[in-house]
Amino acid sequence: AQSVAQPEDQVNVAEGNPLTVKCTYSVSGNPYLFWYVQYPNRGLQFLLKYITGDNLVKGSYGFEAEFNKSQTSFHLKKPSALVSDSALYFCAVRDMDSSDRGSTLGRLYFGRGTQLTVWP
């Protein structure tokens, strides 16, 4: 079964400091990994994704994520946090296991979300 874990419900960081939002995953085959951000009363916005290739993926708003296959992790990072980065962040994994084709193929499995607060 596919699953995503975000071990921290909340992350607090001072503006200007680096931030990390953690994500670990479990998949049967090769993972397709995504990060989304949700601002209050808004929909989810796509930040970045890992499909294949370079383990360091760069995305929107200065965010990047590092894919680590041995640790089954896909942590979201930013070198210098902004107050405007405060939001709810979701990690997701796509079910691409070729042995599980059919009704679940292509589904995104989401973590429970991590609330990031950046204080001035």
Partner: protein
Amino acid sequence: NAGVTQTPKFRILKIGQSMTLQCTQDMNHNYMYWYRQDPGMGLKLIYYSVGAGITDKGEVPNGYNVSRSTTEDFPLRLELAAPSQTSVYFCASSYSTGEGTIYFGEGSWLTVV
């Protein structure tokens, strides 16, 4: 740049009432999804569709129905609303199931009282 459009944004229903959440996308995506979001629970898939005329259940389909008569539209029907259906509902779409990114609408806040 409309993307995925959902209506209504907010709605209050009484127990036992029915309603339809509308969703339309203008990106010619084959795949469409309905998720619900509950606090601290992430997103749960209700129903999805891989193309016009084809729908399938997700993780939490009970109490809901969908249809997909066109590529653009994917309405979600709530029959006999219950307090447990109080949630935020998101419609989403994607071009493919592989590398394709899933794009979300702005959400519909539903309260059942």
